[in-house]
Symmetry: D2
Subunit: 306 residues, 4 copies
């Protein structure tokens, strides 16, 4: 259970079977940092091409196809005082016939000043009408992370799948543990795309994009086979589906939560149906990226009384 | 601003330009009741065919095409001690290839005892594994309500649209005000399909179905033109989209929330984009009915500081 | 087996349980005409509001819920020398991010001169670049037709469903027989929305819109229960699905074609799968209306050798 | 313009920036062969893992990001006397509520005897009811082919995208020329997944799967930038969209066909709209794979008169 301080020097625009950047044992913790989605670091230096460059991959010893990799997000902290966000709602979340009047010509990015101590963001140059908005509380999250996908694939960090990837779910914040299905030796964990704050859906195509200091603990769950990312935030157990249309992401996340209750809690399908029918909650990750993200979840307190 | 006590005697399985059951003035309150989704009343008597029978329609004087009808849900109370729910997750929310193994043959309904004082529900005959579940807190809501649609249509209460209908959104609870676009003289408001409790998505095809006592205040907002239902629960302003796939419901709800901020709060599109990008929230209504329901919302407190 | 000459005087913008315009016996033929989708007749006279006004409904004696209505399109003939079409591809069939540059401001309708003898259409005032296009061969079709839907509904002629409606499928031309599921006494057949020609998908929101003379034979198939419209054009048997997204229309049409082969040809599911796997064909009806239309079909010659 | 005889020894289950198997000049022709989708060759020998193993990649000298690779399918010939197909319609193309009764337990593959001279296929052991089916004419096609995708990705041959991939479109037969957008040096062309015959949609998850002899001519179109695969079969020009839901594949293919007419034929958007509105045709590639395939096309004869 060592703590590794890791200084990234290369970054990847796909999640795949790239050369490991660091090898760690199951149970080890890594303390490192990520550039922002455009490749800029804490000093505003442009280290690499944009498009969600990943820190890693981290090879976890003992991880094999058919295992699960548990990733506890011990620390997710923006590490500079400026962030940037998109300035127009993406056309794919608006009615097609409304798009022509919405106006995309002059859409420049919007900058925010971050107060890292106080935990707030403030528009540097508010668009007309937002002068009174003042401070928004930060809620830092990881936009894109996951493990190498199956079949030797390398999948763009613009999108997501069973391996994780660019899910842009605000619930992936400090303190949460996320589980990924391992398909290659060493699992090959990648992480990046920090957001200081993000609305549901990532509908302007960004959160408040920022470089981050991160710390996470990687643990192999041997012989535990899952189909899609799962998570535990202390209050809820969650299952993630990544697909288009949203309907299919709903199907993946619901099916994975059914499997979770069936396998981990011994409930057969009638019991699962009766419980989830009245108690399931859905959260919306991104509805902007090539694959959309839906999270199905249920309260742990309910499961504990069973 | 009178209070009308109304005893329904006919019920409708579509929302349309049916003969008004009662005429009220704008600002009046109606106190009445609804059978459950199968047509049973507070005494377990089968009064009418199932499929979300509606109480109403209520003709509101002065309402015309191009106005908005405001409906404040003053009281939404289950009025009997038993409710019923579905027993199998609907196949459309599961992965298609998982359906064959899930098992639909023996799916009987599940009954719940409601403690109306204590505000809880308890399974009468828990499926194996749920004996420990105990009491769930009630959260009563209206599943299906709305106004007569345009073009002389009469639309099944199984589905929904710009006129409202079977949205099955747990956020439509007591205390909330919902706004509908008026397309016919008198607006013709319908209401029914009470749920004592419901998970997001209505994934077993039901909440805990129950007859209800309801009280609501109907008010015409003259000359206020909206495209989709909107709502205000004191904390959030909301816009509703009803469509398949979910992606289109996201488009409708987002576009309507953009319109709301533009029209009611004077924000131009760059300001709307910047605000919603980091502050929008999406809730999931049903993903079971022919049209799915998504609610886009933003905190009123944010709007008040602008 | 009488022939009825019928002069319409009222038109409907929804398909529903409207007052019958004419009562006919099963096996009778009706000779009548339809205004164009905007309500204009053969003389260019504006007889009624636009939006696919329907001629009918025609009450067919003996038709009851659970029967099928067979409609043979004996004659589908444009009856005037001008038709009109949309001038911009609908935004919903273009990539959302391409829409802003596509240009919708100045989109006026486009007029065509029809040579009814020669069976051709020619642009009256070709947009720049299309001067050489010359004559296109006509292929007249019925855009919108069907029977009253279930549950007392009246459904807009802008859309479609199990009852038929606005399917805008170029294969619904003279000589084809279409089958609709009867859900009300008398079936209540409606017809209108003639197109002198139309590309797949109806992607400009119209074909070449024109008033028509039509002749059709209505026959009740007692006790034959179908779920979605079916058709027979002599070469293919077809099953129609109407829904959004297209994926769901694919599901409806495929499932209905499976049912057709199972029920009418006695094939069990393995045989159906093996046959359709290598021999099914899909046609695309409209991808413009609220519900999209897909036609699944298989050659009759293949079925005849079984 | 050399002819290369190439004997493959390695096969890839993803399309990506793999080590070139052969380097050719622009204009060269390659004569080679492909194993079937399960990895079996002409002799029924199992050479490699299943899942659409690719022959290649072929590096075409001079090809660079921003060019187009033209691939003329000179010869597409099954090279053995047996093929195999799936035995159950995939659940994703059936109504979800119909799936439980459809039956997936005992679904074994179905074998066909191919008469390569006569160009027909015959079931070896017809399921009950199909004894009379007799011979089906072959229509050999390439299921999966394309060029390395952007961002260093390697994308599974189970799916498709702008780079091509597993499109399973029956129109990709001998004689057709297909165009792919080049994103890496050398283009890196891959090919495999032969079908002796296939229905639209590939709804049993396969065509008649078979190993093939193929011959193709690769040519670089310098400086020609396209967004999605295009094709020319002598009668039609085509544009391909690969995505889920089908609606998005419709958007991609329509937008690409608009671009084609705009760029290659100098038509502005009103002219494109007027022409395609009445003359576009859509074909359905697969509706089985992770991404679905739609082909938008228009007759070349129409374009030639402009």
């Amino acid at each position: 259970m060592s703590l590794h301080e890791f200084e990234p020097t290369t970054f990847h625009l796909s999640i795949g079977s790239h050369e490991p950047a660091l090898r760690v044992a199951s149970g080890d913790t890594v303390r490192t940092w990520c550039v922002d989605s455009s490749g800029y670091d804490r000093n505003g230096e442009d280290l690499t091409d944009g498009g969600n460059p990943m820190t890693g991959p981290f090879y976890v010893e003992g991880a094999e196809r058919g295992d699960t990799l548990s990733v506890r997000l011990d620390r997710v902290r923006p590490n500079r005082m400026r962030g940037v966000s998109g300035a127009r709602i993406a056309p794919n979340v608006l009615n097609p016939e409304f798009i022509p009047e919405f106006g995309y010509e002059a859409a420049r990015d919007v900058w925010w000043t971050l107060d890292l101590e106080g935990g707030t963001a403030r528009l540097e140059d508010p668009p007309e009408g937002l002068a009174g908005l003042g401070q928004l509380p930060l809620d830092p999250m990881v936009g894109c992370f996951g493990v190498a996908p199956e079949r030797g694939q390398a999948i763009s960090t613009a999108t997501s799948g069973p391996h994780g990837g660019n899910m842009d779910y605000p619930g992936f914040r400090e303190g949460v543990t996320v589980f990924f299905p391992v398909t290659v030796e060493g699992a090959l964990f990648h992480i990046g795309d920090g957001h200081a704050l993000q609305g549901d859906g990532e509908i302007v195509g960004t959160g408040i994009e920022v470089s981050m200091d991160v710390e996470f603990t990687l643990e192999v769950v041997k012989g535990k086979r899952i189909g899609w990312p799962r998570a535990d935030d202390g209050t809820f157990v969650m299952a993630v589906g990544n697909a288009r249309p949203v309907d299919q992401a709903v199907q993946h996340s619901t099916t994975e939560l059914v499997a979770l209750l069936h396998e981990d809690h011994g409930l057969d399908y009638p019991a699962v149906s009766t419980l989830l029918g009245q108690c399931i909650r859905y959260d919306v990750g991104n509805v902007f990226d090539p694959a959309y993200t839906i999270v199905a979840k249920v309260e742990k307190a309910l499961l504990e009384r069973l």
